[in-house]
Amino acid sequence: MFWEHFAVWVAAFLTLGIYSFLYKDNPWYKLCESIFVGISAGYWFVTLFWDNIYGKFWVGVFPPTHVNELGESVRTAQPDYWLLVGAVLGLLMLLRLVPKIGWLSRWSLAFIVGATAGFYLINYFSSNVMRQVQDTIMPLFGSGFDASAYVIIGNIVVAVGTFTGLIYFFFSKEHRGAFGFSAKVGIFFLMVTFGASFGYTVMSRMSLLIGRIDFLLSDWLGLIR
C-alpha cells in the first residue's frame, strides 16, 4: 500500500520538476535532469547488454538446450557462428580503452560507415527516387476525362509541385529568370508541406500534454472522474 502511494508521488514529483523548467532553470529541474540522465543511460546500458550481447550474440552462438519428450537434451536452434564477426568488430571498438592500440577501433568504424553508405545508397535510391517518380507519372485528367475537378486540380498540383520542388534543389544554376521563378514556386510547395506537418505536429504534441495532465489530475489527484 505504501509503495503504491510512494510510486505515484515519485512520478508526480518528477513530472512537476520537469515542468518547472518552463518557468526557468532551477534546482528541482536540475535534480530531475540528473536522475533522468543517470537512469536512462543505465536503462540503455542494461537493455543493450541483455538484448544484444546476451540475447543476440550469446544465445545465437550458444543456443540454449532443452530436454525433449524422450529425455534427450536438444538445442533450440542451430548456432550461428557468423555472429562472431560482430563480436570481433565490437571488441575492436572496446580497444579504445587501451590508448596505444585505440586506433584499431577505426576498423570497426570504417566497416559500419562503409556498410551504411552502401546500404542506404541503393535503398534510398530505390524507395525514394524510383518509387516517387513512378507515382508521379499519372494521367492528370483520369482516363478519358473521367476525373472530378477535385482530383484534376489535385493531380496538377502534385505534378507541378514535385517538378518545381526539384528545381529549388538544383545547385548548378543560379535562381534567376524563369528558372528562378520555378524555384520560387517550388519553395511555395515546400512551405505548404511544412505548414501541414506543423499542423499535424501541433495536434500530436497537444495530445501528449493532455495525457500528462490527465495523469496529474485524475491518476494522481483524482480530481477528474
Partner: protein
Amino acid sequence: MQYIRPTDGGRRSRLAFGFLSILIVFAALSAPVVAQDVVADTPADTTAVSHVPAPATSVVVDDYKYDFGDRLNLSWVPSIDDQIGERMVLGYIVYRSINGGEFKPLESLLPGASSFEDKDLHADSSYVYYVAAFSETDTVPSIHTQAHQPEREFIHFDLLWLFVIAALISFSVIYFIWMARAGKDLFVRKIAGLDAVDDAIGRATEMGRPILFIPGIQDMDDVQTIAGLTILGRVAKQIADYDTRIRMPVSRSLVMTAARETIKAAYQIAGRPDAYSDDMVNYVTDEQFGYVAAVDGIMVRERPATIFLLGAFFAESLILAETGNSVGAIQIAGTARPAQLPFFIAACDFTLIGEELFAASAYLSGEPKQLGSLKGQDVGKGIAMAVILIGVISVTLGKAFDIEIFNWIADALSTVFSKAGGS
C-alpha cells in the same frame, strides 16, 4: 567561393535527351514474357449436385524468380464452390512431398486463397504439391503438380533498371568529380545557410562563448549522422583556426568515438593537435529525452553563442531549437526529416533543407572534387524531372485521347521505374 562559368546549356539538353532515348528503348525491350508451365487443368464438375466441393484447379508450381533456390511459388484457381455468399469451401490445405517421399500437410489457408509461397527449401531437392479444398464434411484433393526443383539465380534481373539508373547517376557523380580533378571549373550556386557558418564561428570567438554542435540523435548507421559529422570536420577546422571552444554532447557512444576522431583530425590539419582534448565530445545517454534534458541544461547554463543542429532529428528538434533561441544563440540547423523542418525554419537562423544537408560538407570544403559530386546529384534531379515531365504529358494525352504512342511511352517509363522501385 565563386565558381563562375555557366555550362553549355544546349549540350546538356542534348545529353539528357540521349539518356532518355536509351531508357525508353531499354524499357521496350524489357517487357518480360514469363512462360508458365501449366501442369494440370481439370475442368470442374459443375453439374453434380452434392455437398462435396469441387477441387481447386490449374495448380501450378513455378520457380520463385531471383532467389537462392529456397522458394517455390504455388498458384491455383480456387474451387468454384469457394465464392463469397455461398462458402462451401472452408479453406485449402497444401500438401507437399519432398524427393518423392510421403505427402505431408504443409499449410492451411483461408477460403479465397489462390497462391502460396513455400520457403526454406533446398535447391537440390525436388518438390511435388497438391492442394486440397475442404468443406465441413469433405476434403477434395487437386491433381498433383509435376516435380519441381527450385533454381538458384545469381543476379536479380528484376532490378536491372534500378541498377542501370543508379549506375547512370553514380557514374555522373564520379564523372564530375573526375572533371573537377582535371581542373575544370564547376559552378555551384550559393547556399545561404552555409555562407553563414564563418560568421557564426567568428561570433562565438568574439563573444568568448562556446559553440555547441549536435549531430542528431541517431547512431552511425544513419547517413544523416555521417553527413553531420562530415560537416563537423569542416567546422572543427575553423574552430581550431579561431581557437574557439567546441562543446559536443552526443547520444550515441559510436558517434562519440567518430566525432572525437573527426575533431582530432581537424585540429591536426589546422596544425594545433595539442589544443585538442577528448573532453570536447561527451556521451550523455541514448534516451532521446534524457539527452534533450541534458542538452537543454547545457544551453541555459553555458549559453553557447552558436549552435549547430545537423543530423537526424525527431521530436526533440523543437525543444532544442526553442531553448537555443531563448538563450540568444545563432542557430544553423539541417535535417533530412521533413516532419522536423518546419520547427527548424521557425526557430533557427538558417536551415538546410533535406538535400542541402548532404551537400553541405562538399560545399564547405570548397574542394573542386567535392563540388563535382554536387553536379552529379543535379544530373539525377534532371533525370527525375525529365521522366516526370515526359511521363505525365504522355500518360495524360494517352489516356485522355487514347493515343497509342503516348500510352506506350508512359507504360515504358512506368515499367522501368516500377521494376526498379523495390519494396
